[in-house]
């Protein structure tokens, strides 16, 4: 009699969510791999200069960072620009200096790749070049000549 009977009472079939954990796990693994767990505590302000012709560094593990900028905690450390290695303040010269730090970092890598290590100077815009120049001289003295002036990509506004 009724060929076209309304299936009124029928409920919508439940959506199969059994693949959901797989998708979530996939995302999870991605973020687990992409996450760098231990970010050093930043002690200095580094608002990077903005320029247009930036290059990307492919091998992140071959980059050593030197942060230069005015301290964040001004009441404790003053306002003059300071140098930061890993998570502590450093100096240009001496036992706590650039040479010591870069040499230490170099020794963490096998002999063959030491020449490829790049030093990235993350300097605040307001820092004067005098300090950067001193760091550069120190780097030249220990023959680590690959340098990167860290900068953000963007259009230069005059």
């Amino acid at each position: 009699m009724s060929k076209f009977k309304k299936n009124k009472g029928k409920e919508l079939p439940a959506i199969n969510t059994s693949a959901l954990p797989d998708i979530v796990f996939m995302l999870l693994f991605f973020f687990m791999v992409a996450t760098k767990m231990r970010d050093p505590t930043v002690l200095v302000k580094t608002a990077l200069p903005i320029v247009s012709e930036v290059e990307k560094i492919e091998k992140k593990s071959w980059v050593n960072h030197i942060l230069v900028g005015p301290p964040i905690n001004t009441s404790k450390s003053g306002t003059a620009p300071r140098i930061q290695f890993d998570d502590k303040f450093g100096m240009v010269e001496g036992a706590n200096g650039v040479q010591a730090y870069i040499t230490l970092k170099k020794n963490e890598h096998p002999e063959g790749v030491r020449d490829y290590l790049t030093t990235a100077i993350k300097a605040d815009r307001s820092v004067k070049m005098g300090l950067i120049q001193d760091i550069k001289q120190e780097l030249r003295k220990i023959n680590s000549l690959k340098l990167l002036y860290s900068a953000s990509e963007g259009e230069v506004i005059e």
């Binding site: 200069p49 290059e55 560094i57 790049t118 815009r125 004067k128 340098l147 002036y149 900068a151 953000s152």
Partner: protein, 185 residues
């Protein structure tokens, strides 16, 4: 008395997604995707104090002298210049090929010498450096487009064509030995 063979009860995996989500959110929040970007520079080796620096006969026309003072002002070839004109001028210098008397003989011989004061800000120094690099990038692009119909960055890396462009326009930007120009720091 035979024991009834019991089925192993199925493990309820319904909450697995919840756990995974929880972890996912944690890693999402903690992830910092900072990229290593910047201007790549090769420093000159440190001069040996026992060996006097070699005297290089450098034709003055081949060297474009760029000076940034402590007030972040620009002096190119002893004339003040605005920074937005620097790319243009640098390009004219390296693409001159001996036409104008005060610019470079050839693109291979062209050198840009960048000097700065101790009081120059990092922002301005990096900006100036950027303009110089841009001049080279544009010159290389134009050459590659003319010769191979493709811009330099579209040429495969280390290919013969790319190397030829690099050889034609070697990026010779020299960061001069630090000199004290003024007492301001």
């Amino acid at each position: 008395m035979a024991r009834k063979s019991r089925k192993i009860p199925e493990i309820n995996a319904g909450s697995m997604a919840d756990i995974a989500f929880l972890l996912l959110v944690f890693f999402l929040v903690t992830t910092t995707m900072d990229q290593q970007k910047g201007l790549r520079v090769q420093l000159p080796p440190y001069p040996d104090p026992n060996v006097p620096p070699p005297v290089v006969e450098q034709n003055d026309r081949n060297v474009l002298e760029v000076l940034v003072n402590s007030g972040d002002q620009l002096l190119v070839e002893r004339k003040p210049l605005r920074i937005n004109q620097l790319t243009e001028l640098t390009k004219r210098h390296i693409q001159n090929e001996g036409r104008l008397p005060n610019f470079a003989d050839s693109s291979q011989a062209a050198i840009v010498s960048l000097k700065n004061d101790r009081g120059t800000s990092v922002q301005r120094y990096v900006e100036v450096y950027n303009e110089l690099i841009r001049a080279y990038v544009e010159a290389r692009d134009e050459y590659a487009l003319n010769k191979f119909g493709r811009s330099f960055k579209d040429l495969p890396k280390k290919s013969e064509q790319a190397l030829e462009v690099q050889k034609k326009y070697p990026m010779k930007i020299s960061e001069a030995e630090p000199v004290e120009y003024s007492s301001s720091n």
